[in-house]
Symmetry: D2
Subunit: 346 residues, 4 copies
């Protein structure tokens, strides 16, 4: 039986997790090459996991004729270019979100993907492969809550990582709070509601740390979105969540409500002591979405093997980026903003 | 020891509950008179509870020299006038929310209350006397969550009462969804955040029942409010909550978060059977706020006996009304609205 | 309309709560007399609540011809004698649990109650009037869980009160852990299972505080009981619960399970901060069973007014005492014990 | 780098899950051979997963010189003999619980393991590798709950599987309810308490289905165990859990309590609809312990590669079997039983 041979670019925290999954946990997949600008990372992974090829230049990896597919887990500003290069050379491509840092980049990727219709392209909206989020989708499709008309999404990073974010954000352009943190939520909203965003108002500010004002970003922000069919979207994003990594989604329909992740529980242990009854919480995306990261990569490999396309399309990435930029623009201007690409392309 | 003698107007569901509390459950209080336009209600309560005086005309009750205080639980459109009359005759006054159906009425009541500084006036924002909401306030004041900067409030009536609401709403002006359902939430937001609303955008629609469009009201709606200090308010109100009466409040601060009523549990029983683990829910305000209704009435009586003023002021009623009307205007125009009284007084 | 005139004996923590309910919160009830060996308590309550009669001798209160009913909230060792005296003088009687400190006393009271069939006698098994426990009973009777066959009951006092208990227990005979703490649970087990206890094995010890060994009592203990129809009872009682006053009951039936009080939540506030998601807990019976204490007293008054008998009978008290003493005997001897009165009467 | 080559015997539900993990999800492990008396199963797995060797006779697989380790997932009555054979031929051995169906068998295996001190032997007490159970152990070792002195364990199979169990049990000897269902709980109790069982009383019966009486087994049963240091063990096992597969463990210590799995939640989705707020539950061990099954197999492979022994020893298996048989004996005789091997070996 054929094994899909994959090369990965980017060996940071998430990149390394992807690499480990590709190397050891996915049937019919082989991690054949790793690439990072940090030479030690490349060497370390090659040695530790017995990976045959290692590169510090992306172009060199793309020249490897053994490879079937490229997995992109590099910093966001490289995504657009790396996706296009890999597609043009005939590789199947998986890319971490976002498609790019600007709407133009997202649209650029969209064109490239459409120009290579026989290659698998998949975007890392891993939540769609998380068991809880999948179960919610099934409930909705089974009519359990009737017609969904309101979605509320929280995406809150733990306060413990605020310092390192501020350090990163001073040196890099992240796209800002809504694009960086809420993009998964925007995708979920479109997925669950089956509707596109029409208008948005976004507010917020810096509350604990004035440095966020300095970098012209929000520490915590909220966006309210009017979707088609008057559906309501409420999005809260933040970088100062005391209790951990809080990803919560609520979908209200005409006959019921679903909530996912109301308490971001770390495990099934409850502690009862002086302070009360305590549930400890997860502290980051690797912990919360471990299963989803594996499942999405499995789906990518299976799509290649079975010659089919994943349910997540490049347009999902484009639309989420457009909504993210609309939030950003609303936050910066204080205005109510119509959501469309033309408003955003400069 | 002196007993405060109270006359109540309005013997509907909530009025009767208030009457029962005043008659039997509050030390040093005596329910001396009841008044309702429905004569049978008056007779029934007089007989059942041994109440000495009964009236079908409010003015007649106000003429009773035995009474110290008037408790107003009549329909909202009577509040403004009845408050003013009772105050002008020297009575202490408790009134159910709202102060009136229009901003003008609220301002009118405010003037009347200020003109009678020696009488106790209290508005029925009972949630401030609910033990859970009180505990949350204490936590905030103790600094447990740092500086609060975001509040999210859900006020959802049970779907089981949607029909009777629609019937009522066709015949009566309720002020609309936000004024009718969210006014308690607006008060809580101001109380917990210690800030006034500056701007609002409200959206929503009818999802299950087109009749809401006909009466130009929202079945479910959401309002996002920018408060002073860039604090964020998110308000969801609705009339179609499948699982019951869902009153939920979340306050996020710089060091932590409080949630009140995440699951609107009916009691401490959990049922485990085929469908899963089930928590049954409360189905209305009388069930959820039974303790608060009693405690607020006790506070009213104690204020009279101890010659002091309650913490809830008429201004709390005025500001909440202004915010409610701002939501209504935003919902109706689709615009982002500055919150101030001048915009609303016609 | 007639008011029931009540005299209460015992003005400790629970006694005073009962007195306050009788004085102010129950329709058609009047707290006419109070009695305590502590003269200051009597004076204080009379003054504060305007009570007409006060006594330091129980016999003097019984001589008051104005009274209809006697409410006994004195220390447990007085219950038996005080119940008998009041019954013999024609009063209706409510007594806190237990009927007495010994099986003989319980049987003695049973004879007295049966000798006065026209007077209301009620025992303070207040949990049967707690809304959650009542709802559980209704669910069972409605067949929601099929035929109940296993009950698990936790009765754990907060660690914060361990010192004061040890001080009390050195000077007084409490009946021991199982009789003192589990008697409500024994009553619930019989009520929910509809079966009597046949055999018991009880174990336990002192774990945090060796003083419990010195007073020959268990700090925490567990009893397993075989009931009729092979139904299973599991009872855990203790005096060292770190998180508060933990009263939990589980009933497993052939078609489902009910759990009451899994988390002994203080209110509906949840705190999310560094440590995780925290639910604070109740710290004692007055907090947990406030509603039940009021409802049971209302039921007592209503029984008198309506000339009917409460559902709780003196036999419920006798059987629970017999089971409590059987646990005690098993704990002390290490043996498996048949449950019956003959084994216990010396 | 070396890969450990494993042959597995038993391709039932759990066996196939183990096989899949060994084949695809564990670094440095290769599933080289599969064995089952059902020839189609062998062929199917070989074809589907590209496994080089397949057998219908266990002895034939043991003759394969390529193999390093044997994984035993066959029916319980084969465990003892298959373990001994594999050990004697020099293989590392992983065996599903139990060591054998009788205490004699368990002691037999113990002798065999001790006779081969240089081979890895591991018993499938997978819960010790479940993240929640591991976290609980860490909390205890960190002193969070002080000294543990009471453990309560529920092991309840879903009602949906009662029919198939009854069918199986009529044809096979399972060891009975306590040995079959509670053996993991007995291991957890010893692990968390750090104490051995001294005395036990076990009761129970058939409640929904009289067939259990016919096969002389309990449908649901409870055992109370006195451990060393007077520690208390409460074990409930059953085959008729309406809401799913309910594995719950509580450990009470002198300073706090831990609970694991209070609600056997299927995922993080909560459904709110007419009936209330609903959490769906897991329906079997494969769903609940998926992560643990993988982690234990990884640990087995790592032990081989790193030339060390797993924390679970053969004695853990022996002691749990002894306690299980003591429960069985108590249940059958109705007597309080001292726990020791001599009582049980016939």
């Amino acid at each position: 039986m054929k094994k899909v041979k994959v090369g990965i670019v980017g060996l940071g925290r998430l990149g390394r997790k992807h690499a480990e999954n590709l190397a050891f946990r996915i049937p019919h997949c082989e991690l054949t090459a790793v690439c990072s600008v940090v030479e030690e990372e490349v060497q370390e992974v090659m040695d530790e996991w017995n990976i045959p090829y290692g590169y510090t230049k992306y172009e060199d990896m793309l020249a490897n004729q053994d490879l079937d597919a490229i997995f992109i887990a590099s910093p966001s500003n490289f995504h657009c270019e790396q996706i296009k290069q890999a597609l043009s050379l005939g590789f199947h491509v998986f890319s971490e979100k976002p498609l790019g840092l600007y709407v133009e980049e997202a649209l650029d990727v969209e064109r490239a993907v459409k120009a290579h219709p026989n290659q698998v392209f998949m975007l890392g909206f891993m939540r769609r492969y998380d068991r809880s989020y999948m179960a919610a989708k099934e409930k909705i499709e089974a009519g359990v809550i009737g017609e969904p008309f309101l979605i509320r999404c929280y995406g809150l990073d733990p306060a413990s990582k605020m310092d390192s974010f501020l350090k990163f954000a001073r040196a890099n352009y992240s796209g800002g709070l809504f694009l960086d943190m809420s993009i998964h939520d925007f995708d979920l909203a479109r997925w669950y509601l089956g509707a596109e965003a029409k208008e948005v108002w976004a507010i917020g500010g810096s509350y604990a740390r004035p440095e966020f004002d300095e970098i012209e970003d929000a520490e915590t922000g909220a966006a309210m979105v009017r979707f088609e069919k008057n559906a309501i979207g409420i999005f809260v994003a933040g970088r100062n969540c005391a209790h951990g990594y809080h990803i919560e989604t609520e979908i209200i329909g005409t006959k019921g409500t679903l909530r996912i992740g109301t308490v971001p529980e770390r495990n099934q242990v409850v502690i009862m002591k002086d302070e009360g009854v305590i549930q400890e919480c997860v502290d980051g995306f690797l912990e919360r979405f471990e299963q989803a990261y594996l499942s999405e990569a499995e789906e990518f490999i299976n799509c290649i093997l079975e010659n089919r396309k994943p349910a997540i399309t490049v347009e999902d990435g484009v639309q989420s980026t457009i909504l993210g930029y609309s939030c950003k623009k609303s936050y910066e201007t204080g205005q109510l903003i119509k959501v469309n690409a033309e408003n955003l392309v400069t």
